[in-house]
């Protein structure tokens, strides 16, 4: 018992020393999870289905921005204004590639089944098939190695937060993540398009009777989720490189985050992503790195035991 006690006191002491750096790193990771989780949660909101091809939307954004960055930066050192421009272009191109792939998946793997009123299981298998097709295609076309992406900026520490150095890439991730999540939240809650999405999420049949174009609304939902997923692929690639399997684990984590926050709930996806990122990061101070996922998923189970519908509940319409 004393050994157990001393284990935790020593690890709390470690945590006290490293808390702020781990928190900053966890938040940066969490924003990436949140951006990917949005894609899952929006599709679930309108279709009540999990888009298992979303991991490849993430991967597509990573590769598109990787090729763009490689072409733009080459072996040179960009000036300050070029750095800003290249990051914006990287986010946009990553996002657009993600949106294009998401739209393609919707058009090929979902819409034909929806028109035939296929059972839910058919959508699931169709999406998994699309996922396997896409990542194997990427492996064949781009190779099976991890490509390091040279950032178009020097990733130095910009300032200290408590005792944690906050680096350029952390700031970019936080700013891009916040802007996109805030923008999407406003779009869904205030615009006509957002009303359509919420209407379809609440009751597609009634929405259709009220004049909402269901096909178009679903396609736009895929596009929006895909844009955020693709942009997240760029931010992830800047730090860890790009490879055809890069979407697998982050997307699984993002799906977890979406469930944690309340699947179908935009703000829930944000909270779930941030929570998961921070829990993962802090758990390193307590346990061996090999147990990070044990801790993360343990937290997921605990949260769901207390709140089966996730932290903020399920409804896209209500929360947005």
């Amino acid at each position: 018992m004393s050994g157990f006690f001393s284990y935790f006191t020593s690890h709390f002491a470690t945590l006290g020393h490293e808390f702020w750096p781990l928190l900053v790193g966890g938040l940066a990771t969490g924003f990436i999870y949140s951006m990917v989780a949005i894609g899952y949660t929006m599709v679930y909101g309108v279709l009540r289905l999990i888009n298992f091809a979303h991991s490849e939307v993430f991967m597509s954004g990573g590769f598109a921005s990787f090729f763009l960055t490689k072409w733009l930066v080459g072996s040179g050192t960009p000036s300050a204004w070029q750095s800003v421009l290249y990051v914006v272009l990287g986010v946009m191109v990553g996002g657009l590639a993600g949106a294009a792939i998401a739209a393609l998946v919707e058009r090929v793997a979902y819409r034909p089944l929806r028109r035939r009123k296929a059972p839910k299981l058919a959508y699931l298998i169709s999406a998994i098939g699309a996922s396997y097709f896409l990542f194997n295609l990427a492996a064949k076309e781009f190779g099976r190695i991890n490509f390091a992406m040279s950032p178009p900026f020097v990733n130095h520490a910009l300032f200290q937060f408590a005792n944690a150095p906050v680096e350029m890439l952390d700031v970019i991730t936080l700013v891009v993540g916040l802007l996109m999540l805030f923008g999407l939240d406003r779009l869904v809650s205030k615009s006509k398009l957002g009303r359509s999405i919420r209407a379809v999420a609440q009751d597609a049949e009634t929405a259709s009777l009220m004049g909402v174009n269901i096909d178009r609304t679903i396609a736009v939902t895929f596009l929006l989720g895909g844009f955020l997923g693709g942009a997240a692929g760029y931010l992830f690639g800047l730090k860890f490189g790009v490879v055809y399997t890069m979407g697998f684990t982050p997307a699984l984590k993002a799906f977890t985050a979406a469930v944690l926050g309340g699947i179908g709930n935009l703000r829930g996806a944000l909270i779930g992503g941030l929570l998961l990122g921070v829990v993962e990061s802090l758990s390193v101070a307590f346990v061996n790195g090999a147990y990070i996922d044990v801790v993360s998923f343990g937290v997921l189970v605990l949260v769901l035991l207390v709140r089966p519908t996730g932290i903020l509940g399920e409804s896209l319409g209500r929360a947005a």
Binding site: T14, N146, K239, G289
Partner: protein, 403 residues
């Protein structure tokens, strides 16, 4: 009518010529085939995936050995190579091993290349009586944990490499505290454990951590684990970090560490000794200063005509930067030498077993030294215990002597 007759004669004559020519060439081909049967030497290793470069280096070595053996004209058989891509994965290697076993011309294997893949594939090769001569599977347990005598390797085990690495860190560089990190693989965990034990014995304070292979590098863990792990390493600030694993994940860890204040020694073993370590690290400068080791035995490069031939196969890559290419060349040549000494039978299985038994009796003077196997498959060559050290200097892996 005359014209028609001429045409008929010409057609009959042509047909006769064709009929005569086909058996003639057929007989000639058959006589060549009978004189020189064709046998296949397989190679199993990662030819794709996050850590493919090491496997490709070895493929080049096998290609060179087989090309030279065929070109010599001295062998009573022709050789072909067959490639089995296991991506370095213990999950994929059994299927590749079964495919190799089913090849009815395949008589021996170079590889498997990675230790985890070797452990998973060995039962299939053992059942078929196929000798596997690995250029690079260094996990110590491979030689002690498998009862069948089909496993051999032309490198020293991680018990030799890990002990030398620990001594290098603690004694040579005075590292009083060492953090060992492994990638959770059979190879990485084994090597890190040897370093852990040896560094303690050498007087250092040792802690350990495990960071599983990530989905960027063929595993399933999230690459984000390195961000928080690097923070923790910087806070603990050990004098040295030893990484047991492969270059792809080490590159991610180095990238994360470069964003912290950590400035201690970083070292890894042969699994990280690849130029792809530098190209896979962001920023590439984060790899500078990293120490690497390889228990390859003797020379790790071809010279003269062999080097020219090697570069023709490797599209200009020098053998000195293609780790395990020379070991693969020697492994293939040990098999070819053994093949030239056995009495061939009509039974594929008996031929496979005869080659395996002959390998245990063969002493071969290769590029990497004089090679002979102990009964457990470990090397008993003249360069016993030699571990070469390297350091990344200005983006280039540079030889820095040996223990």
């Amino acid at each position: 009518m005359k014209i028609r007759l001429n045409k008929t004669v010409a057609a009959v004559a042509s047909s006769a010529l064709v009929l005569l020519a086909v058996p003639a060439s057929g007989i000639a081909g058959a006589s060549t085939m009978m004189a020189k049967p064709t046998y296949v030497i397989g190679y199993e290793g990662p030819l794709s995936g996050g850590n493919a470069q090491l496997g490709i280096n070895m493929k080049w070595g096998v290609q060179l050995a087989i090309a030279n053996a065929n070109a010599s004209g001295k062998l009573p058989f022709n050789l072909q190579a067959a490639w089995y891509d296991d991506q370095g994965s213990g999950t994929l290697s059994p299927a590749q091993a079964q495919s190799a076993v089913a090849n009815n011309k395949l008589v021996a294997m170079v590889g498997p290349a990675f230790s985890g893949a070797t452990r998973a594939a060995e039962p299939f090769y053992a059942n078929a009586g196929i000798a596997t001569v690995s250029p690079s599977a260094t996990a110590a347990a491979l030689a002690t944990g498998i009862s069948n005598n089909n496993f051999m390797r032309v490198v020293y085990g991680d018990d030799v490499q890990g002990a030398a690495d620990a001594k290098f860190l603690v004694k040579t560089h005075g590292a009083s505290s060492v953090l060992t990190i492994d990638d959770g693989s059979f190879y990485g965990a084994g090597l890190a454990q040897v370093v852990n034990t040896a560094a303690k014995a050498d007087g250092a304070t040792v802690t350990s951590n495990s960071l599983p292979q990530t989905s960027n590098c063929g595993g399933v863990a999230s690459s984000t684990e390195y961000t928080s792990a690097a923070t923790q390493i910087a806070a603990a600030n050990p004098k040295a970090v030893f990484y047991g694993g492969y270059y792809c994940d080490l590159g991610l860890l180095l990238g994360a560490l470069s964003q912290t204040s950590y400035s201690g020694i970083i070292m890894s073993g042969d699994g990280s000794e690849s130029s792809s370590l530098i190209s896979g690290t962001t920023p590439a400068s984060a790899a500078n200063g990293v120490w690497l080791s390889a228990a390859g035995g003797g020379s790790s490069a071809f010279t003269g005509k062999l080097e020219t031939q090697f570069k023709a196969i490797s599209h200009g890559v020098k053998s000195s930067t293609a780790l395990y290419s020379t070991q693969a060349y020697d492994a293939a040549n040990m098999i070819i030498t053994s093949m030239s000494k056995i009495k061939w039978s009509k039974s594929l299985e008996l031929n496979r077993i005869a080659i395996k038994d002959q390998l245990h009796m063969t002493t071969y003077k290769g590029v990497t030294g004089t090679l002979k196997f102990q009964s457990n498959g470990n090397l008993a060559g003249s360069g016993a215990g030699q571990v070469n050290f390297y350091q990344v200097v200005s983006g280039v892996i540079t030889a820095k002597g040996h223990n």
